[in-house]
């Protein structure tokens, strides 16, 4: 299988992980075209650096790490993303939470797209990879306090977008005060 470095089989790795890598790429980039490009970059990089796989079973996490790296690089090439309103607001937690199917996919992606890329990565690692805040801090080499702060703000922002129609417009408005200024 593709999980063994000594028998790295590109076709098998693509078959095993393509869909999850694409979905993750779509959540990060917010566009099908960018997600496909990112996905192909991930598998090309993996193909070129296949010797880096150390442990069986680590391929998925390794591919996700490549994806985050490719995404961050692609963000550097673009114009800076405006900081969104990242106020903490526990009142956006619905009293009667919906099911996953009931969540509006378009609003979900719009809410993610409003976030600056470092917040988007932390959010995707939490929701998509099911990483704990400690794992996120370790993988991104960030202080735990930074991760917890970004996570709380990003989640609050996303819920505002999903569940509070009155504040959606306000959340979408760029607001420099929400991000460290300098």
């Amino acid at each position: 299988m593709g999980d063994d470095a000594s028998t790295f089989d590109p076709a098998q790795v693509v078959a095993d992980h393509l869909e999850s890598v694409y979905r993750y790429a779509f959540r990060l980039s917010g566009s099908a075209v960018d997600a496909e490009d990112l996905t192909q970059q991930v598998f090309l990089t993996a193909h070129q650096k296949q010797g880096q796989i150390r442990n069986a079973g680590s391929t998925r996490g390794w591919l996700f790490a490549i994806l985050r790296h490719c995404f961050s690089k692609s963000c550097q090439k673009r114009r800076p993303t405006p900081a969104a309103n990242l106020q903490l607001n526990v009142e956006t937690i619905p009293a009667d939470p919906p099911t996953g199917e009931a969540i509006d996919q378009e609003q979900l992606q719009l809410g993610i797209d409003q976030l600056p890329s470092p917040y988007r990565v932390v959010l995707a690692m939490f929701y998509f990879e099911n990483c704990s805040y400690r794992e996120i801090a370790e993988k991104l080499d960030l202080p735990i306090g930074t991760v917890m702060s970004r996570l709380a703000r990003a989640k609050g922002h996303l819920r505002t977008y999903l569940f509070d129609s009155n504040r959606r417009t306000e959340a979408a408005r760029p607001r420099s005060a929400a991000k460290p200024r300098g």
């Binding site: 979905r23 090309l44 619905p94 099911t99 979900l108 930074t146 709380a152």
Partner: protein
Amino acid sequence: MTSCPIHDPRIIEALEACRPGSDDLQDPAMEPLARQIGVFPELGTLYDRLQRTDRAIAEAFQRVPVPAGLAARTLARLAAAPDPLGDLLLIPLASADVPTLHEDIPPKAADCRTRRRRWLWAAGALAAAACVLVAVLLNLPKAAKFPGVEEVLNQAIAFFDRDARTGGTLLGPASPPPAGYPPSAALPVRTCEVRWRPIHDFLDSRGTAYDITGPGGVSATLYVVKLGLPGLGSSPPGVPMLATGHRSTAVWQEGDLLYVLVVEGESREYERFFLELATGPVT
């Protein structure tokens, strides 16, 4: 509900960090949250609601349709890429097998030798370039190594948390501040009790810390180091640039000095600190 700590950023951050269906709440670092949930049932209700909401969002995160033909297109692009192992493949030749004349060398072995020489040259050039790069990086000013304002603010809060903030010298005409690290011109601390002390490892630099007790009792420490951080303002903002874990902080640049203020408290304490510097104690 008034005493329930749902507006405490530390509790909110801990709530938000617990993954649905996990045992994150058992993490020793989550002990304050677990304790508060035991005390305040409404916080437990909020925790359950957030867990269910997060489960739904996590499920929705996975619901992305994959375009048809993506696997074929990806495999085609992989097939078109050079084989990373093939490029490095060197055919080992026993000494007895090595032909003495160039024209006697089989084309494949000659290709391999050419390729090997090319790789050796490339590796040598890369090693030389890496040495030059390391030398350049080592000689860059320290500010170039900073990851950004946010990291500086986080490091300042971490430093403040482990800083004992004791043993300073009362600032006054008899004990002026150390030369080279004056208090900020943008921070009018004349009405405050200020103590200064040297610091050695703030942002990997030496400098001076000014422990300030504001007119209304708000405590803050101003760290001064000789560093340059591009793009900063020349005075402290009226609202903190980062507020987390009961600490509010801001950073600004005056000449070649970097000033980082950490106020003990949330945004309102930070704002009160500045208000009181300007107007005296607020009752």
